[in-house]
């Protein structure tokens, strides 16, 4: 099927000109870009998975933390765009951080990205499965079906099937079409707006909470640790937005479309998030009992609890929106860790079998199934160890995103260190924005990591007196360090800088 890669050096731009790049030039306009951005963010999924956990941290300051969480994302994304246009074909966190900081930090940057995507894959699959059974229950009117997902003997095998199917589809290289994305995104946005409107206009809210300006004030959050946790969670809800900034060649006008597309995407998303979170706070309140959004029972999946009481029979639409958005994201996200594993295998940072490409489907083979197996393994372990697996994985995910994003932002500053002060644009986009964004995210990472050692943190699951989130987040990173050291002993070529050169100072 596939051959081993035996080349030690990075591939040159195909000298023979044999392989023409098949990017369709200039077909995506502003609306198309907004659709792509929203589909990568998957708001129906991120809200159900992240809203409850964020309310648990910051209470009624939810709108404020959502607004505040966007800022570091924006700052880092500006740096991302610079790296992407300087090295468009050479990859992502792994190669960028290697070129800037050398092999060890680069390896960890790649690991951070893989870990974040593997965690989100397991969470996406779990959310898809929950809403799969909820939707079945709503369609058939048999409430007991929705309860099936709490039975581990049913839940775990179903989730593994979802992950396997997604891996198979992405291995086969089947593409989502334009029409499919438009329909999926349009449906998601419409259902979320409907939810917000029904919640805000409800005649019998559960715990009517007046909406005040104070909710929009980030300074209203009591403690720094709540703020840090809230930021890392709200990074998760905007994760995906930066895809709009990195699309250039694909747009009809690379000078204008990406900027406008990114702006419109974020405006639409923030409006949607504010509407839904105000709706949730107004209707359910942040109380820790019953239907309150602060109730630990409701953290895992807020819409699973609230859409029924708020939307009545229309809750079926919400289940369908979340199921479709999480299942579609599950499949498209699978490609990301597979490609980073492939690149790491190719550059000898991992065993070279990871670099195998399927001759029939032209997709990573070993790497795709490794990513799926890791996501499946991660899900089974967290499901068995933690009572509130989804909540803990989302918090651990926020941690991981802060880590690899922060690292990549600093890589941008260091990579361009020779040209930072050449002009005002360089100063802002290559230095100031990524520096502040990177430092903020790494501070959030360390603050949340330290905080999460507390067994009370997150869902309150613990092992040996250490919080589950810490074990998941930091444990995964330490596992990466161990694998890296093992690879370094076994095959030091990458670590000697023989496969990817660290970039020396410019000029």
């Amino acid at each position: 099927m596939s051959q081993d890669l035996r080349q030690a050096s990075p591939p040159a731009r195909s000298e023979s000109g044999l392989h023409e790049k098949g990017l369709p030039k200039g077909t995506v306009g502003v609306l198309g870009l907004v659709v792509i951005g929203i589909s990568c963010i998957a708001p129906a999924y991120t809200l159900t998975a992240g809203l409850g956990a964020t309310v648990a941290e910051v209470g009624t300051s939810l709108p404020a933390i959502l607004l505040a969480g966007f800022l570091p994302m924006l700052l880092v994304a500006l740096g991302y765009r610079e790296l992407n246009s300087a090295m468009p074909d050479s990859g992502t966190s792994f190669t960028w951080a290697t070129r800037a900081f050398g092999p060890m930090i680069g390896w960890m940057g790649g690991w951070g990205l893989i870990a974040a995507t593997v965690i989100v894959l397991s969470n996406l699959a779990a959310v898809a499965v929950d809403f799969f059974y909820i939707l079945l229950a709503q369609l058939t009117g048999q409430d007991w079906i929705a309860e099936l997902t709490t039975n581990l003997w049913i839940n775990i095998p179903t989730t593994l099937v979802f992950i396997a199917v997604a891996a198979w589809i992405s291995y086969r290289g089947m593409n989502a079409t334009k029409v499919f994305q438009y329909v999926l995104v349009g449906f998601q946005v419409a259902v979320l707006l409907l939810f917000a409107i029904m919640a805000l206009t409800s005649s019998q809210p559960n715990d009517p909470t007046p909406i005040t300006w104070q909710m929009f004030n980030p300074a209203g959050i009591d403690t720094f640790s709540a703020f840090a946790a809230g930021i890392s969670l709200s990074i998760f809800v905007f994760w995906g937005w930066d895809v709009t900034l990195t699309m250039n060649e694909e747009t009809t006008d690379p000078k204008k479309v990406p900027g406008r597309g990114a702006t419109w995407t974020v405006l639409v998303i923030i409006a949607l998030y504010l509407a839904v979170s105000l709706g949730v706070i107004y209707w359910a309140g942040v109380g820790t009992t019953g239907l309150g959004a602060g109730n630990p029972e409701n953290q895992e999946s807020i819409f699973a609890v609230l859409s029924g009481p708020i939307m009545g029979p229309l809750a079926m639409l919400m289940s369908l929106a979340i199921l479709s958005s999480s299942a579609a994201s599950l499949q498209s996200t699978m490609v990301s860790p597979a490609r980073t594993l492939l690149a790491m295998g190719y550059y000898k940072a991992l065993p070279s079998s990871f670099a195998k490409i399927s001759a029939r489907f032209m997709s990573p083979s070993v790497a795709t199934f490794a990513a799926a197996a890791a996501a499946a393994g991660f899900y089974v372990i967290t499901r068995l160890l933690s009572e509130n697996a989804l909540w803990d994985t989302i918090t651990a995910l926020g941690l991981m995103i802060c880590f690899y994003y922060g690292l990549t932002a600093l890589a941008c500053v260091w990579y361009f260190r020779g040209e930072l002060f050449d002009n005002a644009r360089n100063f802002f986009c290559k230095f100031l924005a990524p520096l502040i964004g990177g430092i903020v995210l790494l501070v959030m990472f360390f603050a949340t990591a330290i905080e999460s050692m507390n067994p009370e943190y997150g869902s309150g699951s613990e092992i040996g007196g250490v919080g589950m989130v810490f074990i998941l987040g930091v444990g995964v990173l330490l596992l990466g360090v161990a694998i890296m050291l093992w690879m370094r002993l076994r095959n030091p070529a990458f670590f000697r800088g023989e496969t990817i050169r660290t970039r020396k100072l410019l000029k």
Partner: protein, 290 residues
């Protein structure tokens, strides 16, 4: 003869090159174009997080190596070159490449798969068999074995024709291929008894009539072709009656439903395809210009 090989870097691809080499060997301007097609990436399938991840660079290096391996499989004396292209649909991409290179046909390696008794060529072969403007040749491991037994040389062409209009075109085109390759031609017709009246007498008459019709036809085309009319209870049984030799190549015409100069494989041809254990070519009925 110029052929386009739809290549994948595995056993099937190697088999396709083997068949294509046998087909063009000894013809004028013998050349092969080895086509590696890749799926076109669509922006609406954005990879997130991280985008390309260096994938396209690594993939194109891999494709370069695959192309070099493929070219090494082509025997001496046959001109060969490789092309790689990203295409929205594999079948359409192969047709476009074939037309670009002025190929006489497209060669695919494949596996026989039986689904509910029907031969089903792979999705790509199937699409080609229903839309290609040029001949499509297919191999399977079993059919390659008979070719290898003849030292990789094609020894005879067998053109399958019906007794309805269209036979003339298929025979004519097969004869031109046979002449280009300096090969003997055999014309075969399958008669399913189930479709005829029951009497022995009628069957005998029908067989004799068909044979004389074909004899007249080949004579009027000025051909020296062996003619075989075989019958069986059904099409499958009739197909099984036909004898084969090592190095045989079967040719089938496209259905009358086909648009001019396009292939459209009919249900009978589909049925026959499933039964044959020799390499197969399907040719568009109307006289192909090249």
């Amino acid at each position: 003869m110029k052929l386009l090989v739809g290549y994948t870097a595995d056993q099937r691809g190697a088999e396709a090159i083997e068949l294509a080499s046998a087909l063009v060997a000894g013809t004028r301007d013998a050349s092969l174009k080895i086509a590696i097609v890749l799926p076109a990436s669509t922006p609406f399938n954005a990879v997130y997080p991280g985008g390309d991840h260096g994938f396209s660079t690594i993939l194109s290096a891999q494709v370069d190596r695959w192309a070099a391996e493929a070219l090494a499989l082509v025997p001496e004396g046959i001109a060969a070159s490789a092309v790689a292209r990203s295409v929205p649909s594999v079948a359409e991409g192969l047709i476009a490449l074939g037309e670009e290179f002025g190929a006489h046909g497209i060669v695919l390696g494949g596996r026989k798969r039986h689904r509910a008794g029907f031969f089903s060529p792979g999705a790509i072969a199937n699409a080609l068999l229903h839309s290609s403007p040029m001949a499509v040749f297919m191999s399977s491991p079993a059919s390659l074995a008979t070719l290898r037994a003849a030292n990789g040389k094609i020894t005879r062409l067998t053109a399958f024709v019906g007794d309805r209009p269209g036979a003339r075109e298929v025979i004519g085109l097969s004869a031109r291929i046979a002449a280009a390759c300096a090969l003997p031609l055999r014309v075969a017709t399958l008669i399913s008894q189930a479709e005829l009246a029951n009497s022995e007498q009628e069957l005998g008459d029908h067989l004799a009539k068909t044979r004389s019709y074909l004899e007249e036809l080949t004579e009027s085309l000025g051909l020296d072709a062996a003619i075989e009319v075989v019958s069986g209870q059904g099409l499958d049984e009739a197909t099984a009656q036909l004898s084969w030799q090592d190095g045989d190549l079967a040719l089938l015409g496209s259905a009358r439903l086909a648009a001019p100069r396009r292939l459209f494989i009919g249900p009978k041809a589909q049925r026959i395809l499933g039964q044959l254990n020799v390499p197969i070519g399907v040719i568009p009925t109307l006289d192909v210009a090249r």
